[in-house]
């Protein structure tokens, strides 16, 4: 190996070791492009400056999360909407607090930093041979997108796949290009609904649970895992519907959202019941969530 090649390799190797030793050390990422999803929600496509970091990071599982650093403002946890089977890494983030606001102001080429992936993720291999029912309210589709894309990439491993997505208005449906694709994918039942209709909307009007009773829709209960993500009120009603249909509490999974600082089980902020959401979650079955004893 010539000396210059050694020089190129060394910083990377040292840096990797340092990151493995220091759980709080983020790695530098570069923003590639930004796509406006709905009002206040944008998708940020990015990559790690160091290709070694990029390769290491892409081993994440659907349902895991990452910590995003906007230096001078802070760090926040966010879901990983891409599937590990996809080439690009991205976050979809709503503008809601100071860190997310700083992220929304970044332009392509700007640098920030990322740590992760963290958390347990969905046990997608455990679900082989089962029916998958995805129920997403609004931006609840962000954490579920990863599992959906993963399931479609590994289509043969699963039985029926149903996607139910509801939003307040047609303009607030998430990942519209993906929805269009899923609606036309053979072997995938994709049902959309909105709370309030608008011009040009010919689909269902009503809460997401109303889709379960729609003529022609038959939700399999036996041998099925239901993924539920959405705002607290939607979550409570969908759970009620699913339990009413005969779903077992342990066959309903969701991801919890909590204020967290470290993502690695140390800072204590996300500790609820007997679990640290960051390391024991964020994916929990409804059976577990009930025992944690806190609001969703």
């Amino acid at each position: 190996m010539n000396p210059s090649a050694t020089e190129n390799v060394r910083p990377t190797v040292t840096a990797r070791r340092e990151q493995a030793e220091n759980i709080y050390l983020p790695r530098i990422a570069v923003l590639d492009r930004v796509v406006q999803e709905i009002q206040d929600v944008k998708t940020f496509y990015w990559h790690f400056e160091d290709p070694v970091d990029q390769r290491a990071f892409r081993c994440f599982r659907p349902g895991q999360f990452a910590e995003v650093s906007l230096f001078g403002v802070g760090e926040f946890p966010t879901s990983l909407p891409p599937s590990p089977t996809e080439a690009e890494t991205f976050f979809t983030v709503r503008h809601v607090g100071s860190c997310t606001s700083a992220l929304h102001q970044l332009r392509p080429g700007d640098k920030f930093a990322v740590r992760g992936p963290y958390g347990n993720g969905f046990p997608m291999e455990d679900y082989y041979g089962k029916n998958l029912v995805f129920v997403a309210g609004g931006i609840g589709l962000i954490p579920l997108r990863s599992a959906i894309v993963y399931a479609l990439q590994n289509r043969k491993q699963y039985q029926r796949i149903q996607i139910f997505h509801g939003a307040k208005t047609p303009k607030e449906l998430m990942y519209v290009p993906n929805l269009g694709e899923w609606e036309h994918t053979p072997g995938v039942e994709c049902h959309l609904t909105v709370d309030r209709s608008a011009e040009g909307w010919s689909g269902n009007v009503g809460v997401v649970g109303s889709l379960f009773k729609k003529p022609g829709v038959q939700v399999p209960v036996e041998n099925t895992v239901a993924f539920v993500c959405g705002p607290p009120i939607m979550f409570r009603f969908v759970i009620k519907d699913l339990l009413g249909m005969g779903f077992q509490e342990r066959n309903i999974v969701s991801t919890l959202e909590r204020y967290m600082k470290c993502g690695v089980g140390k800072c204590g902020h996300c500790c609820i019941g007997v679990a640290y959401v960051c390391v024991d979650g964020p994916v929990f079955t409804y059976e577990q969530i009930k025992k944690l004893g806190e609001d969703i």
Partner: protein, 362 residues
Amino acid sequence: MKARILNRTDALKIVDLLRQQGYEVIAPFRGRGRDTFFETVTDQNRDQVQLHLPNPYYPPKRYVFPHIERLLTVKRDNGDIRIQPSYEEPKRAIFGIRSCDVAGIYHLDRFYLGRDFKDIYYENHRKNLFLVNFVCSDPANDIGDECFCVCADTGPAAREHFDLQLMDLGDEFMAVAGTPAGEALFADPIFKKATDAHVARRHAILDQVRKAFKTTTSWFSATVRYVSQGDILDKTWEEIGNRCLECGGCTYVCPACTCFTVSDRQVGPNEIERVRMWDSCGLGGFTRMAGGFNPRRAVHDRRNRRFFRKLAHYFIQRELSMACVGCGRCAAVCHGDIGMPSVVEMIRRATAEVEKRESVSH
């Protein structure tokens, strides 16, 4: 464990020995009033070091987990970002750390260094830390009204996790080595062989000291069981919550509390540093998320959290160590009288009233 005997007057020579070995030695001092505190020993204050005094409120935890600690420095240069982690690896000894606080540091070891992720900042502070434990043997000076290490099983004499342990036997001090590093000190001529009589004296003193505690949370283990089983009534948590003033004092003086928050601060035109600082689950913003949603809105939810985290069997098993070491500081600082001993007492009283525990019927 090996024991040696030394003259009373030679106890401070251990401080000198450690300082000669390059340790920054931390020791307890008495303030101008009733206050006591840990401070670095210097040539000037060396003779003021005291061993028999009330355990300082501000726990020695800060020597392994500083109140505010820099994690990283980040420099910006023309759109580029350079992240530089900052590490401190002090060589420190704490002289006169009480048994409860030794258990506190052990708990922090279990928490920060255990499980999947290891905290390197904590490890750096901890790896060269030498602990000289001092056994509380003088009820008038050493043991506060709120101390309950006898119930938490951490004192008055620690059984492990120290390098060297000192105990006042009256005319002489007994030194016990807990680690090879502690035993290495015995090479110094101030240490003399101990006899059976010394060991008997130690046991006799400890027997007496164990009877001198004013606070005995005799329902501690029952409380652990009830909390773990979810048997505490909401009414009881509310009663506890109603007494909480949300000052966060209990968590700040606790030698076993681990929570922190992280904040970025500007230190130069193109330079920021990321620091972490102690945080408290008693404070309203602890769980508040961006957007304002707070899953733990009620005060009693937050109080409940602190005691659940410390008393639930699940966490004791998770760390194989309990997050309450019986130092009694929370009881001493709480204006609402809901330190750990009072909470155990409130749970005991509430449980006595609960009919569900009474299965007798006619």
